[in-house]
Each structure stands twice: as C-alpha cells, then as structure tokens.
Symmetry: C2
Subunit: 467 residues, 2 copies
C-alpha cells in the first residue's frame, strides 16, 4: 500500500534525556510525525545533579522545560510533547500505553527511558539510602544533609549526635566521589562556625567502595590522585568493602585488612546511594513483547544499529541500552560495552534518528560507533581528574586545580541555554570566593528517619548555650 | 537579688521573618543571650514568593539560610539558632516548648511567628485552593499551574480540558493581583505555541474579590488603574463576589448585577487562595497562658510598646500582632491598625529589641510609631501601581511602566545578599527580553485531582514533597 500523502510515519520517543533530545532534534526537520513522551516536564543536566543535592546550584540552573528547549520544533508542526508515564510497550501491536490508559500507535519507536538505582536485591535500603537520578532525589538528599546538622545541633545524646554528624556515601564512581568531596567541603568550610553546640568540622564523611579503588573506570594513576585529593578533604575512603545492611541505625559492611575479614557497623542517619544502576522497567516490557534480551543490570541488548533483533522498528538508546561500539570493520565490536555517559547517549540518539530515516528511504542502517572524548570527574573545590582522548596525540591525563577548571568550563559549556550558563558561572564564582552554597534552602519540614529523637536532657551542661 | 555577673538575660525570638531577623540584629551586640527558633532553615523574602509560584524565580533567589545571614552574630557568641517548631508558649512558666518536648526558659520573649491562611471556617477548601505563605506552598502552586496545561494537552473531553485551562484566584489584594496578572502572562506569552493540541492563549484567568474593588488598601483611583491593567492582560476581574464552595469541580460564588443576586459555578481544577489571613496558632497559646486578647483574625492585641498587658516581658510583633501606631502624644493612637507588611514588621522588630534593652536598664519602654513609606503592587509585565508617602511633599501616586520599574528596583534593593540581587536582576532582564520563565521546572509527578496534595489543616507543618 502506498502511503497516503497526509500520513507521515509516526515516531514515538520515550524519554527526554540526552539521547531522546538529540533524537528529536535530528528528526524534527524530516517528514515524520514525532511524539515525545517524558514523565517530567524538564530536561535535566544530570552531570551537575549532585550540585543541586549539595545546595550549590538551584534546580532551574541545571534543568529546562522540554517545551521551551523544543519550542521551535513544536512550532514547526511535527512534534507533540506529552508529559506522561509510559506504563508498557506493546511491540507486537506497535503501540505504547500511557498511565491514563491511552494507547499511542507508532511506526518507529526510540526507547530512551534511562536507568534507575539498583540496590542489588535490597530495595528496603532505598528508604534510608536515596540515590541520585531525579530533581526530587536531589531535593531529598539536600533536605537530609542540611537537616542532619540541624538535628545534631539540637541533640543532647552524644551517640545520637555522632550519628547525625556521620555521612556515608556508598559507591566511589564519579557521583559518589563528587558527593563525598562536596559533603566534606560543606562540613569543613560552608558550615564552619555557623553552629553553637556542634563543630561542623568534626563531621565524618565515609566513602565505601566494593572494588579496590575509587573511580574504577579511570586509569589506576588517576584513581590514586583522586584518593589523595579525597584524603586532603578529610574524606574517610574505604575500598574493598561490601555493604551487607542499611537501616535506620546505619550501614554494616564486610571488609578485610590483608587476609583478615571483618564486619563493621557505621552508625549514621544519612546515607547516599551511588553504587548500582539498573535499566528502566520498560526494558522488561520489551523483553516480554519484543523478545528483547536483557543483561544482568536489566539493560536491553541491542543490535549493532541499536535496534532489536525481531523488531527493527524499535531502537533502544542511552543508559537503557547494552550497546557495543563497532569500527568500520563490522562485525568486530569493541570488547568493552559503551559506558553510561551523556556523550554516548547523545551519539546513540543521533544514530537511531538517522537509521530511522535510512529505513524510510529503504537504505541499510549503520552500526553504532562510540567516539570517546575522555572522562572527567571532580572531587570538591579545586580538585578534579581529567583523562582526555585527544586525536593523534593520544591520552592526555592531568589532575588538580587545572583539571578542576577544565571540568568546570566543560560542564558549563554543555549546559543548555545561555541564561543557565551565566547563572551557573556566577554561582560558582560566588561559591568560590565565599565558600557559601547559596541553595542551602529546604522547603519541607526537616527529614527524620528511623527512631524518634529522644528528648534532650534539660540540664545537660554541654547543651546549655551559655551559663 | 543582684544579677550574677555571668548570667546574661535570656531572650528567645520565635520566627525569622522580617520582624524576628531585625530583632536579632538589634540585640546581637547587647549583653543578652539570644536563641532564635524557626521551623525552616531559611529567611524568606515573602513579597517575591508569587514569582517562585509562577516559575519566574528559583527558591534560592528569594531565600537565604538563617545561619548564613546571621553567621557573624553566631560567631560573636551570644546567638543560638535552632530549627524547630515551637508547639506552645508557657508564659506563666516563662518557657517555650519545642516539637521534641524540649523546654527552653526565657527572661524576655519576642513572638514573631507570622500568619497563615484563613479559609473563613472552611478548612476543607485548603486541599483545592492552596495559599501562598511558604516555599512549599509556592512549589505546590507551581506544580499545579504547570501541570494543568500538561493535563489539558492530554485531555480529550472538552469540558474537562476547559476546566484544566481555567484558573481562579480568590482575593484581589496585592498577592491575588500579582498571581492573576502573572498567570495571564504565562498563558498569553510564555506558553504560547508550545502546545500542539491546545492553545494556551485560550486559558481563562478569573480574579474573584468580595469587596467592590481590587487592591482595597490603595486609593480608589489606583484600584481603577490596576483593574484596567488586569483587563488589558485578559484577566476576568469579578468584584462583589462571595465564594460559597470550593471543591474538585471548581468554585461557586454569590454575586450580584445591580440588585439582582445570582449564584455562579466556575469549573476549574486550579484555584489559588489569596483571601484570608489568620495569626499563627501560637497566638492561642498566648491567650491561654498570658491572658492575651486576640482579634477576629487571631492576632494578638498588644500594648503601645508591643508587649502584653500582664506580661511586659513578652512582645508580639509582625503579622501576628494587632498593633496600632502612636504619635508622641500617647495615648492617642492612629485609628487604622498597622498593616501586615514587611516595613511594619521590621520596625516592630527594632522597637521590641530596643524596649527589652530599655527594661534591662530600668528605663521606660517606648510606644510603637509606624512610619508608612507607601505601598507598591505589581500586576504583571510592565504594570504596577505606586502610592508613596513622601515627607513634606505628601502623597506621590503613579502607575504603569515607570511604576513597574520602581517596584522592580525597590524589591531587588531589599533582597538579602548581593548574589541574590544580581541573580534576580539577570532573571528579570532575561524574562523581560524572552518572555521565558526559567524556573518552569516541576520535580514531582504531575498534580492529579483526588487524593489531597496539601495537608488540609492550616496548622500542619509543610510536609508535602518538594516540587
């Protein structure tokens, strides 16, 4: 059947992260009818989300309304944006189901639904150890961190006070290292001398890591530098530690000193989870209706062109895709999987869009080739590690203050919108000069996990302001 | 008994709004031991709160951590800041009780606990018509407004869609006028052409007012100007309307056309309450233990020096005080009560602090004299009314673009902190040029009618999730 002149192929894109947004932009001038579905109203610059969690930036500085970013594409007339949750994908029926029961048909589908936290089968830990994926997560962690110091100031029991002043970050990838470094900075500088009954400098920040080094995806020399920089910030880094329990009393883990195994309990009220990542539940929907294969982390194993084996009209990109990079000499793939980073998601978004257009023209699709420009991670004020892949030259690795400056400008450069860049630059310059974190503002009532506070003793001498 | 040399008089200040903050500053160099208690961790610049609710500003732009504002005073050693909710004042025992049961003694007390919404005996309306007093309120309203347009875009039923695209503001004081004007601006400009299925310009903004004119505290000529400016922004202003019901279907009110009475129902899913104000529940605590007299709005009737008749060591200031202004010729007071505005609260905070110091020196206290510098109200982009009391010259009244500029700079001038002023100026310049409202970002799931989003009781602490 020849296509009717008025019937444009329908493309549905699920998720407006880095991958989904690039796919929309790449398709927006083509003769297709695009529907973009996201469960929030904004695109989020996730690499700086830890700054919202640690009160260095406000939410609007690192996020922008989807309708604003794509206002020109919407005006052009072939893009519909819906704020909705996709509850299921029916690949056999070529449709997706929304939270209100609405069913939308597609001719081509791009699933860019991203990843969520994984607690390795211990979902009960989530209450005590929030992860960091959404703005709501960041506000939750901000409220817990700021509330912990406030509780400590009001607390008469020394054990309880010590628990409020202990912070544990689980997982020493880039997010965990950034969180731990910034938490230490807050305790050492931002809050210094702002309390009467406690000394914020005595707060303890512990970074737990299961493997034997921090920033495991970097070369060992940079891991070592990062560890030294964390130590300088007074972060207590403990590698080779496997968390066994997280509850309202704190974190228990198994570790070893040489050959001696031991189990340790860290009493704390504030835990940040930066360890496990799992593909969006929509992966299971694809496994059920499109026979997609999932890897151990719940990510969808894709073909070289990012589509599914039995459903070449369905593409999976970004953090939800278990993809490999292919050189021009298909079928030999890189042995390493493509990492879950924003440049990879953007590149996949562009390729999935291009492959849809190729199929519409009955041309063969192309395989994904990941261009790795390097990795950056920051540790706190003035410290970072940089590992760049420079064409011809090879690897360029450095750490310290210049790495931090490089990290700063690279991140601000990729922020969406001129206003955001300007405001973030001002915020950083301000924070750099004053040590203040301007977004230290919590709208909710203070967070209170676990057991209720015991009423402070009336006459405890160390809690009386001044006698 | 002579005071012991090491025993400084204890002053407790409840609330860190405009009044409480001024009182702390005025006392911080005196030989007193101050404890400041607030249930949030921040001071809020309430006159710009409607900008957070309408996504023009981020929360940190109009708020600052109390510990940061008062860091020098804390360092000086006679100020303790506690984030806590005061649940009761025991004036007979000269102590206050905190949420965890802790009891703090005082020699002098300043109650600056402010006001909350009043639904005139209809607390059940709170679920459907949130008021605007806290950052949590502002995030709630922001989520509802942005979510309403998103729901309308997804909605197939024309009646339901029309209800999502109708916005009702109850109360045409400064907050109601600002909210209605800005909502209209969002529909007419910010969101224009950013949807496919709906036309945001067809959204309807209704401003309901019980009396016969908007901005009732201004002179009639300025009320008339404000009404014209609202009309130009396509706000449907209806005066002489008494709300009888607010529920999930909309707002019902009684009105009249000439002598003909009628009842009307406005179908809407989004109502903002800007009508009634009631004193903090701590007023009732003072009535019970200090024989304080409350007025109809639950405010505490104070003596000319802002203290209580039976308890000269207890001062009530700001929105919680029913105060009058006295000239030098006591006891003749101004016939009009002091309005609930920030300059009045600041002046009361300074006087209460000074009167405490006078009493410590066994000097007579002074009566409150309100210095009224005038009133400002803005209506939307480029429109405002200004009524200044200029010494010698008399009243200076103007409206329109220059009034808006005056309003803008006056508000930015009084914002706390250089960074905030700079960021707010940039945000406004940006919004002015682009019509974009950069904080149009909602962290939670979209608002859905049915289960309440806000705690239905006015007295409940802010516990809803942060938007």
């Amino acid at each position: 059947m020849k296509p009717r002149p008025n019937h444009k192929p329908k493309v549905i894109i699920i998720g407006c992260g880095f991958g989904g947004l690039e796919a929309v932009k790449a398709l927006s001038r083509a003769a297709v009818d695009i529907t973009l579905i996201d469960r929030t109203n904004h695109h989020l610059f996730q690499p700086l989300l830890y700054q919202v969690a640690t009160a260095g930036l406000s939410a609007p500085a690192i996020s922008a309304p989807i309708r604003h970013i794509l206002r020109r594409e919407i005006k052009r007339g072939n893009l519909t944006v819906l704020q909705a949750e996709v509850t299921a994908i029916d690949a056999a029926d070529k449709s997706v189901v929304l939270d209100d029961g609405e069913r939308l048909d597609y001719d081509h589908l791009i699933v860019a639904a991203g990843a969520t936290h994984s607690y390795f089968g211990h979902d009960e830990w989530a209450t005590h150890a929030p992860g960091l994926k959404t703005l709501a997560d960041a506000f939750d962690i901000r409220a817990r961190v700021i509330g912990a110091f406030e509780h400590a100031e009001r607390c008469a029991n020394p054990d309880e006070r010590a628990a409020w002043m202990s912070f544990v970050v689980v997982g020493a990838g880039p997010t965990g290292v950034e969180m731990a470094g910034t938490l230490a900075e807050i305790a050492q500088h931002t809050l210094a001398q702002q309390f009467r009954r406690i000394d914020s400098k005595l707060a303890r920040v512990v970074l737990l890591e299961g493997s034997d080094r921090v920033l495991g995806t970097f070369v060992p020399a940079l891991s070592q530098r990062a560890r030294e920089q964390l130590k300088r910030l007074k972060v207590d880094v403990r590698t080779g530690c496997k968390v066994t329990t997280i509850d309202e009393t704190g974190v228990t883990y198994d570790g070893h000193e040489g050959d001696v195994q031991f189990s340790n309990h860290l009493p704390t009220r504030t835990v940040v989870w930066a360890a496990g990542v799992a593909g969006s539940p929509l992966g299971r929907s694809l496994a059920a209706t499109a026979h997609a294969e999932l890897d151990r982390a719940g990510r969808v194993v894709v073909q070289p062109d990012l589509s599914l084996l039995d459903h070449p009209e369905v593409y999976v990109i970004g953090d939800l895709a278990a993809a490999r990079s292919y050189g021009p000499d298909l079928p030999k793939a890189d042995p390493k999987p493509v990492p879950g980073v924003s440049p990879a998601a953007k590149q996949m978004g562009r390729l999935a869009a291009a492959n849809i257009l190729r199929r519409l023209k009955h041309e063969p699709t192309e395989a994904f080739r990941y261009r790795d420009y390097g990795s950056l991670a920051t540790i706190g004020r003035r410290a970072a590690v940089v590992d760049l892949a420079v064409p011809v030259f090879g690897a360029l690795r450095f750490s310290g203050f210049f790495a931090w400056l490089f990290w700063l400008f690279a991140h601000i450069w990729f922020l969406i919108g001129f206003r955001n860049r300007l405001v973030v630059l001002i915020d950083w310059a301000w924070a750099y000069m004053t040590f203040e974190r301007h977004a230290r503002v919590v709208a909710e009532a203070p967070h209170r996990p676990g057991p209720p506070l015991t009423p402070p003793l009336q006459d405890a001498p160390d809690t009386q302001p001044l006698a």
